[in-house]
């Protein structure tokens, strides 16, 4: 018995101004299936989805929904056939309530009067949220006050309210806490039972093995293969994605760890974190684990002078530093790679050259006048060293893939020759190949004696990369573990305040 797939895409071609981004791509998904779509940044995943939902017109190929050929020219039409995308950047209007968001653009009214039937909308919202098991969200809550995880539930509820049969989730867990991921997976599981299909786009391999049935891999716009998850392996998928053996996922740590170079003593900011004391040694990578919102980023931003602190001393090379502004930290030799590279790391409209120069103004100028030759040399060297894939140093940052953008951010900070580099979620939204390159760069830096602090919410990464792991819970350090004795369970226990939350250990 051969089941008709819910969606079938056959031999899809698509090019943008002569640049072919999809070449003969095939994709199918059955009803009630969770199907992972994977590939490196720029492999064509988003284009494929945009072709499916009618945002881009395909050049060639056939799309069938329930065996019937379709030709969507906009997402609205795709929606009518039950296909809905939940984007990474959620479509939630923060000032409106949950119910108002749920019915955005399709408000219920009393007949044709244009007068809103608020009561009915609230009731239906409540029912939809209950169906999802999201009973902790109230229809009259202001959407912007809710956590990202809850906002995502609103989007899912909204999708289901339109009788979606296929939900496309683009990096749904990127901004979720472990707890929220767990409840998202429960919802995904229950959707599967109701026969809803899900296309799951993620760079997090663990999640794909945990919840998906099949996986389709794209590489450079080409269809590589579709496999059953239970018949494939981590290494096989990575090989399909990058087209070669990647070797060990985390490169072996080779640096020699020296004396303490960086010390924080009794750092404190009322209501956010307190009593933060730790140190990092020369050539060491200190991993910082914790749940989202535990205060990890805030601690680092305070050290760096971007946020206030009430108390505490910071010493580099045994010398106490006065840091009131990031420029003070940079002068002392501290670099900070921020969590949100688009909002806080890069000037998106500007070129690679201009972005990298931002932190290196002294090095590329004489008495305040920029020297074109110095600048070009510094930037070209860094681009080469980090192997940024680009058409040239004048290319605008926004046209680079996530992995390459992240390399530019790293390049910004290598220029200052940091003694301490703080990396906040350095591999978020970055594909496996680029991830490994970033780990390798971190290794090389530590070999040269740089001390590194790495915040990460991905436990395998924390465990695979760090020499020591510091766990933060609600603004306090709850535990510091050596690499040899650390495991996911110990970290999660410390991250949740020591209680036994077995459910939170996500694999």
């Amino acid at each position: 018995m051969v089941e008709t797939p819910f969606v079938e895409m056959i031999n899809i071609d698509k090019s943008f101004s002569g640049n072919q981004v999809l070449k003969g791509v095939n994709f199918e998904i059955n009803s009630g299936e969770i199907h992972a779509l994977m590939g490196e940044n720029g492999a064509g995943k988003s284009t494929l989805i945009k072709v499916l939902t009618g945002i881009h017109a395909r050049d060639n190929g056939i799309i069938k929904v329930k065996g019937k050929k379709v030709d969507f020219s906009n997402p609205k039409q795709a929606e009518q056939d039950g296909i809905i995308v939940i984007h990474q950047e959620l479509n939630i209007i923060p000032h409106l309530t949950v119910a108002e968001n749920m019915f955005l653009g399709k408000e219920l009214t009393y007949g044709k009067t244009g007068i809103l039937n608020t009561k009915e909308m609230k009731k239906q919202t409540e029912t939809s949220l209950q169906d999802l098991g999201a009973t902790n969200i109230q229809p009259e809550d202001t959407a912007g006050d809710l956590s990202v995880g809850k906002q995502q539930m609103i989007e899912i509820a909204r999708a289901l309210a339109t009788n979606a049969e296929l939900i496309i989730m683009d990096e749904p867990t990127a901004a979720l806490t472990a707890r929220e991921i767990e409840s998202l997976f429960n919802v995904v599981e229950s959707l599967r039972k109701k026969g809803v299909s899900i296309i799951y786009i993620s760079h997090r391999m663990e999640e794909i093995f945990q919840i998906c049935d099949r996986i389709t891999v794209l590489r450079d716009g080409q269809y590589i293969s579709t496999e059953f998850i239970r018949e494939t392996s981590f290494e096989a998928i990575v090989k399909m994605m990058v087209g070669r053996e990647l070797g060990e996922r985390f490169p072996a740590r080779t640096s020699i760890i020296g004396d303490v170079v960086f010390e924080v003593d009794n750092l404190d900011r009322r209501g956010v974190f307190e009593n933060i004391s730790f140190n990092v040694r020369k050539g060491e990578i200190l991993g910082v684990a914790g749940l989202m919102g535990a205060g990890r980023t805030e601690i680092m931003e305070a050290i760096f002078g971007f946020e206030k602190k009430n108390n505490g001393t910071v010493k580099l090379d045994g010398k106490a530093l006065t840091i009131n502004h990031p420029s003070d930290a940079i002068k002392a030799g501290i670099g900070f790679i921020t969590e949100d590279r688009k909002a806080k790391g890069l000037v998106l409209n500007a070129s690679i050259r201009e972005n990298i120069s931002l932190t290196n103004m002294k090095a590329v100028s004489n008495n305040g006048v920029i020297s074109a030759s110095k600048e070009n040399k510094l930037i070209s060297d860094l681009i080469k060293r980090l192997q940024v894939k680009t058409t040239g140093i004048e290319q605008e940052i926004k046209h680079l893939s996530g992995g390459n953008q992240q390399k530019v951010v790293i390049a910004k900070w290598l220029g200052i020759k940091p003694k301490l580099l703080i990396l906040d979620e350095p591999t978020r939204g970055v594909d496996v190949g680029a991830k490994k390159e970033i780990y390798t760069i971190m290794n090389e830096l530590t070999e040269k004696g740089v001390a590194i602090i790495m915040i990460s919410s991905e436990l395998p990464e924390v465990l695979g990369v760090s020499d020591r792991i510091m766990v933060i819970h609600e603004g306090k350090i709850t535990r510091t573990l050596d690499r040899e004795v650390a495991d996911q369970e110990k970290i999660m226990r410390a991250a949740t305040g020591g209680e036994n939350h077995e459910a939170l250990i996500s694999n």
Binding site: A343, L348, E354, L358, M361, G368
Partner: protein, 311 residues
């Protein structure tokens, strides 16, 4: 190829517009392309252009300065006051420029330290500075300023047949062009406008950059005011009202984005010339000032719409 054309159009579009308008006016009026008229036109443009140069810096940082006209008036009145009290004219002009710098710095401080949106902050100071001007002058022009050669030169003089204000404008233009393109400060102006958080986290003191940018604009506004004062040999308490609109228009026509981070000062020069050429040409053609406004507004709109297209 198409992209190349499009990006180049964004750069030279205003320039083409200027040429086209000039050719049309040349056909319609015999007097347009006379040397006297062109020099006269350039002198008229210089006042708006100087203010607009400063405004370019402000807008590049994603700000706006509505108080330029009031700063012009207050700076001119105070300078005129110093002159009429017999102060050395060069020294008085120097102090006047410093006053402009200080008034601009007030804007910058309110915006950065007080965390007030630039539109609101400068709307308030626009009113306050105008009020102070009226109080200081008692609402009457200040006349009988100075008959020194140096002071007359600023607004009325010629060097090799070219009006001195035009030379002043070109000199300031060249300096600011260099500052924006070649200096660390210029780079910081673009960066702060492009992404303030990222700039701060890269070690740029965004607050200082902004304070400087508003100070520069204040100083250039007073410079423009001194040209007017010298030309009329009197300071008017109502001088410069609505000048902020022509300055902003010149910047926008020149292709600088109101969102900040993108734009060029060459564009602003061309934008100021377009506005000046229109004013001048429509006057030559005896178009009523009522219709002139409609034409000017239409051109601004057209420029912005074309700019949108090419993005």
């Amino acid at each position: 190829m198409k992209r190349l054309l499009v990006t180049n159009f964004a750069k030279i579009g205003p320039f083409i517009g200027l040429i086209v308008i000039m050719i049309i006016l040349g056909f319609l009026s015999d007097n347009f392309f006379t040397l006297d008229n062109i020099l006269n036109l350039l002198r008229q443009v210089s006042v708006n252009a100087l203010i607009a140069f400063g405004m370019t810096f402000v807008i590049l940082t994603a700000g706006i300065d509505l108080s330029v006209g009031s700063i012009l008036a207050l700076g001119s009145a105070l300078t005129a006051g110093m002159l009429s009290s017999g102060m050395d004219p060069i020294f008085a002009v120097f102090i006047g420029l410093i006053i402009g710098l200080a008034l601009g710095a007030v804007n910058g401080l309110i915006i950065t330290k007080g965390k007030v949106a630039p539109f609101i902050a400068t709307l308030a100071t626009m009113t306050v500075f105008r009020g102070v001007t009226l109080v200081y002058t008692d609402g009457k022009p200040i006349t009988g300023l100075s008959d020194s050669f140096a002071f007359e030169m600023i607004g009325r003089g010629y060097v090799f047949g070219i009006p001195f204000p035009v030379i002043l404008m070109l000199g300031v233009f060249l300096i600011l062009y260099f500052v924006l393109r070649k200096t660390v400060f210029g780079r910081q102006v673009y960066a702060v406008g492009g992404n303030e958080e990222a700039s701060t986290l890269s070690g740029i003191r965004a607050d200082r950059v902004k304070i400087w940018v508003y100070s520069l604009t204040g100083m250039l506004s007073v410079l423009a005011g001194i040209i007017l004062t010298s030309r009329l040999n009197s300071a008017q308490p109502t001088a410069g009202s609505m000048y902020e609109l022509d300055a902003i228009a010149a910047v926008v026509i020149g292709g600088t984005s109101l969102m900040g981070g993108r734009g060029r000062i060459v564009g602003t020069l061309v934008g100021a010339l377009i506005i000046g050429v229109l004013d001048n040409g429509l006057n030559l053609l005896n178009v009523s000032s009522f219709y002139q406004q409609i034409v000017k507004g239409g051109v601004i709109l057209l420029a912005v719409l074309l700019d949108r297209r090419s993005k």
